[in-house]
Amino acid sequence: MSGFDKVVGSYEEAMAGLEDGMTIVAGGFGLCGIPENLIKEIKRRGNRDLTVASNNAGTDGNGLGILLEDRQIKKMIASYVGENALFEAQMMSGELEVELTPQGTLAEKMRAGGAGIPAFYTATGYGTPVGEGKEVREFNGRHYILEEAIQGDFSIAKAWKADRMGNLMFRMTARNFNPMAITAGKIAVVEVEEIVEIGELDPDEIHLPGIYVNRLIQGTFEKNIEKRTVRSA
């Protein structure tokens, strides 16, 4: 089964081959379900001029935010970047290029990148700055814009459980962008909370088949919460 054993021995090995200037597609929503240790490893490696497609850019000191500290990211493709002062400063100063992309379009661009769909039409963004310079076409009397797929040299993502073949299950809203991000990278690296034996996952309950996963590692997670909001009993 060696050929299907996706488990790597270390985070160094997990991100081996990442080079300056590469494009990374990342899973996670806010700080929920982010591949936090893979991001730390990218910081440790010190790769620069990265393009990162991710819904958010983390927060100051958390998630992708830590890659901004050393100016490792040249360009972000994201839908929402409002939680991060350093991000805003770098964007305003022009150090950081930002391609604001509607959340659903971003998710669909990642899915398309993994699914051999080079481009698709969507009404989202028509008539707005997002649509500028993009082809507009009418279908059934409505206007749509053409959006192209996103692919990455690497994907980084976080899942809950995996078997050694890389079959994945996610947990609650930590699923978010992770499945699509994984499919869109040439080398898909996934960190998980638990690796189980092959055959332990019910084939009907696997959220993403291992065919998309190249490297798998078990980690421990801080799981920081951006907005802890509770009610009283």
Partner: protein, 218 residues
């Protein structure tokens, strides 16, 4: 009197129908969940991949893996389902959500909405708002009618970068409920104690005032 946040939320909740799947934006829209009438059930969609969002968790229920689109910790109700962001926006873009409620900086009488960016000042990003306004047939925008300086936010033409073009048909402000039809605002309801004249003076876009403009029931 201008509506309070709570009254705005109450009025939004009057648009709910039993069996509605609803996406509520951050802020006042989210508050509307507190005013779902007794005996009625709506399922709340959170665009990060949850249908069937429940109340905030008790301290001991908090789970970092369960948040809403505003990144707040939440719970799930019975019958909830979890899905990916691609599936979530397939649902939204495909028009399967019955009602969407979200905030805005400006709307205009062409049905345009600006809600995500103030050039040079605020660039947080559109998040899911562009998909929501493009995907939903039934949208209510909640906002203040005018700025603190008395400048109308219901315009003849939006001045800020658009979130969506020609997609808004109903606006609820702290002063009024208005529909948008044929390039005009139609005044449907007034906030209690607010005069038609005051609303007209604070509405920059073309306004149609029907003979009878009832007060809201809030």
């Amino acid at each position: 009197m201008a509506l309070t946040r709570e009254q705005l939320a109450q009025r939004v909740a009057q648009e709910f129908q039993d069996g509605y799947y609803v996406n509520l934006g951050i802020g006042i829209p989210t508050l509307a969940a507190n005013y779902i009438p007794d005996g009625m059930q709506v399922m709340l969609q959170s665009e990060n991949g949850l249908l069937g969002m429940g109340p905030f968790p008790l301290e001991e229920e908090v789970d970092a893996d369960l948040i809403n689109a505003g990144k707040q910790t939440v719970t799930m109700v019975k019958g909830a389902s979890i899905f990916s962001s691609a599936e979530s926006f397939a649902m939204i873009r495909g028009g399967h959500v019955d009602l969407t409620v979200l905030g805005a900086f400006e709307v205009d009488c062409q049905g345009n909405i600006a809600s995500y960016m103030i050039p040079g000042k605020l660039i947080k990003g559109m998040g899911g708002a562009m998909d929501l306004v493009a995907g939903a047939d039934n949208i209510i925008v909640t906002m203040t009618h005018a700025s603190k300086h008395g400048e109308s936010k219901l315009l003849a033409e939006c001045t800020l970068p658009l979130t969506g073009k020609g997609c808004i048909k109903r606006v609820l402000t702290d002063l009024a409920l208005l529909d948008i039809e044929d390039g005009k605002f139609i005044l449907r309801e007034r906030a209690p104690g607010v005069s038609v004249e005051e609303i007209a003076s604070l509405t920059a876009g073309e306004l149609v005032i029907p003979d009878n403009v009832p007060e809201m029931n809030v």
